[in-house]
Symmetry: C3
Subunit: 406 residues, 3 copies
């Protein structure tokens, strides 16, 4: 034929529809297996992928989050009154806020020379010769002057050092813990934003009446059952939830994570998108050697024109506010993808059943003979040589093994 016919024919054949030929096997066992596998696959997809995993949703994790924290409460300490300004740090109210529970204060330190702490390596001495001048011991407090002096009002002697005097170990005043702190509250305001879905949510109910709202916010205390929308958390409550003993926290200090979890299904009303709180101690407990939380800071002042400081070693609770978020919303693309995957996955059934069929229940090979194209009537004899139709599907067809030419 000529080129024109060929092109024409080719163009026509483009509009043909091709569909695989199928063999139907009337076999209860096989049919049952087939349908069961199919059922499993479909169930898996409908139940797990679609219902439990919500594969029909476009989702977004890790929302933009903003946390603002504010401590509240007053503690009495002998004649000393501690308000938030004293025990809450840093003052800026970010997502990490720490409150002091116990202080070890060293008053009136100033630059000068005094005796080194006796536990510091080779600080003990009897004569000046025991103290190398200018030496700075890493664990020590300062530079040795080379003198060997009396250890404050004790009988033994240690090397004199140049440092902030007196040294903490000697002059420290251990204050009792702020037991009142158990009733302190931390106000946590968290607002999140899912950029993709343009959804903005906060952990505080929108105020119908501002004055009432304000009063509510100052008075309420968070409680999972009773007050789920109150953003004021009692330190005692937090410690309980984290299964920690508050008085022990006062002793060693600790880091507690405040987890705010947002799990939003935006196919429902946004008002269902509410935070849940959980609390967990973050510094390792088992390993007491390194758990706990404390830090040192100083208040500086000039006394009689001399720069002085009050050194404070503060044991406390550090609250790390950690926000998790997940939002999902129906979207056609993932739905299509999941559906297609589901449909194609059904193909797996055939693979399994073919294997079963051909291996176990292939009665006198009538299935394999039908499945695998055999010669029905063949004009040429040459063909068997170049192609004879035999299953390679693990089922052996002894009679066909020698590719009988008809």
């Amino acid at each position: 034929m000529g080129l024109r016919e060929f092109i024409k024919e080719y163009f026509l054949s483009f509009w043909d529809y091709e569909t695989p030929k199928v063999m139907v096997v009337k076999n209860r066992t096989l049919g049952f297996i087939y349908r069961s596998v199919q059922f499993l696959v479909i169930t898996y997809f409908i139940w797990y992928v679609f219902i439990s995993q919500k594969a029909y949703q476009e989702s977004e994790n890790r929302p933009e989050s903003s946390v603002y924290t504010l401590m509240k409460g007053t503690a009495v300490h002998g004649d000393d009154i501690l308000d938030t300004v004293e025990y809450a740090q840093p003052s800026e109210g970010g997502d990490v806020i720490s409150t002091i529970l116990r202080r070890e204060v060293t008053y009136d330190q100033r630059h000068g020379t005094c005796a080194e702490y006796f536990k510091v390596a080779n600080a003990n001495c009897t004569t000046d010769s025991d103290c190398i001048q200018g030496e700075v011991n890493f664990d020590g407090h300062g530079r040795r002057t080379g003198k060997c002096i009396q250890y404050y009002n004790h009988t033994f002697k240690t090397c004199e050092i140049q440092t902030w005097c007196p040294i903490e170990e000697y002059a420290v005043v251990r204050e009792p813990p702020l037991v009142e702190a158990i009733n302190f509250t931390v106000f946590i305001r968290n607002s999140i934003h899912f950029p993709r879905f343009k959804v903005l949510r906060g952990n505080i109910k929108d105020a119908s009446n501002k004055r009432d709202m304000h009063r509510y916010l100052t008075k309420c205390r968070y409680d999972e059952e009773k007050e789920p929308y109150c953003p004021n958390f009692r330190l005692g409550y937090i410690a309980d939830q984290a299964r920690e003993n508050f008085s022990e926290l006062c002793r060693t200090g600790g880091v507690i994570g405040v987890f705010i979890n947002w799990n939003c299904n935006l196919d429902l009303d946004p008002s269902n998108c509410k935070p849940t709180y959980s609390f967990r101690r973050l510094d390792l407990r088992k390993d007491q050697a390194s758990s706990g939380y404390y830090y040192r800071f100083a208040k500086y002042y000039s006394k009689d024109g001399v720069e002085s400081r009050t050194l404070i070693k503060a044991y406390g609770i550090r609250l790390d506010v950690i926000v998790h978020g997940h939002a999902g919303k129906f979207s056609p693309i993932p739905t299509i993808i999941s559906t297609v995957t589901a449909m194609t996955s059904v193909g797996i059934c055939t693979i399994i059943c073919d294997w079963i069929m051909l291996t176990f229940i292939d009665k006198n090979e009538v299935y394999s003979e039908r499945k695998f194209d055999e010669i029905i009537k063949e004009p040429t004899v040459s063909m068997p040589t170049e192609l004879s139709y035999i299953s390679s599907f693990g089922s052996n067809h002894s009679d066909l093994s020698d590719g009988v030419p008809l």
Copy 2:
């Protein structure tokens, strides 16, 4: 046959090629539907998956990011000059920096006894008996001494408390807002690193000439159109971009997110990998009761040997610098996967078209008869019972149900 033949035959058959048998239907309607569906699937993959989603790229989100911030500007306050050291906190210049816009200062507080704020629950009194000694009210300022005294220079009386005196509510001095702050600038240096791709980028143009660069960096102000590479942001500009009224921010304070978005296609030249900035207020607005941003801190000093403090309630803007990043680069693996998925997904067309064919346009079942293997000539009679080849594809072949040979 013997085992040898079997093994030989089996080994040979391993090298056979199996391909499904296909029925070709010359039917315009069907062909058209088939090709259309195919076209849709292919288009979807090429356009959405490959072009829009860049499925041929290996991608990395969340780069390692480092932010350094530095406030600049001078504000005049009566005889008081405020420089960054006074209004910018924390000083370390991390990714959260706040600047004070308005202060409510309580000068010269010191430990002592004074009258409780009259608005505190049952603080008002007429006789000492109204004040329980040692009581500490949560909303109050300190511990009650049990006395009932005059409320500073007013006529009425409240319970005396032991606290920092005088109390803030009475002695506070409300300073006017720092309107000059609208011209303060914050220098934001951000450098990111995509570990997988070993790409390091910064939001500051590399300097050809250091001196010029330095001058540029000190003088310039960021502007989306004119100065996209200048890392100095005017607070006023930030407020505008966040659609906030600066003077109102001065009143209530607020938290504003500075979002730095890196979207890098590393198949192009890395120089195309540039940041874009966006600004949004992060503390909820709607709910005025709880929006805003303020914090308290104190400056301590010893006056005539007595520890005193200046308590400052600071309203301000807190800038949270939040960095988003995404980088993609061609990689064979994802390309192969996507291609394979595309090809397999085309299989979906057959499923749809078969259903259409067999349900709607199956003229006198000629298609189903051809698609589904029927008996052409049958040696045994027993067979139909154990297997007769009939479609179960929803199309009913009443005449075939008893397996009539044509």
Copy 3:
């Protein structure tokens, strides 16, 4: 037939098993290609997907992490002793901690009037008329009084300003760097938690004996080979690892990232889940104009009843502790999914081989004739018009184009 038969027949047919008919081609070339492609696909899945990508595991990135840092060391500065309280900020010990390496101190600043820095735009003057009263220059230090005064003990004159006097540029005292800082250590405690797997790990060995542990933790220094479990990092070591020159860091300051990487295969014993550390400088180096790290802060005190401050411009190292984590654990669902995908992907082989077969090695179209269903015997003559079975598979069947019945 009646409805009953139809339903019965339909129900029966539901339990039929359908399997595609397959043509087996005894052709070495084709068989070889087929098996090779199959081999490639399977290898890819077994090696890449399963072994290298661990697709059989359910994985979790981004664990909950808590970091606690503590600086240690003593530096001597002439008669001045600096301990952590002085050079480490912020004191709270979060995941960002900075240490001062060099200070530029301006002592005894107080509110007053003094000469503006001569480099400030139009600060130089000869007569008062050169200074506009009340003007506040952005780069300047304060508000101009309108006077033109001598620049401290110099001969030339600049405008008088109201500010903290004296100005930094004039009165600043540049201290030598704290070279001892190279031996300072930072204690980094990091504990992570994978919520999905309920796995809690820390970077400190659990203590068998607390006392020993404690001594170990105070004495040891981290070293990748010798001391992988010691959480004390020498600043010098960190700088080396980040390939930075410490003395240059002292000059310009810098931001260094401390990366803690957790890569946990939870199918193994959890004790194999150990952190690895890496260090990298985060502020851009190339662009010297903007690299480096410094910040300003002040110590306030009242001297003779006047509020004074010591302004400190501190160059230092800021350590950003960044925690990465990945945990994987065997889970049936992903295993199934990956397996199914693998099996379905094998389908790709047929597509490729069919194309090869029909295009290159389709000897006198015997394959396409067998693959594509032809008419064997046809009762009606009308049929060929509406359906004749011809390949549209790119191979042209000129002789079949008119649907010859055999």
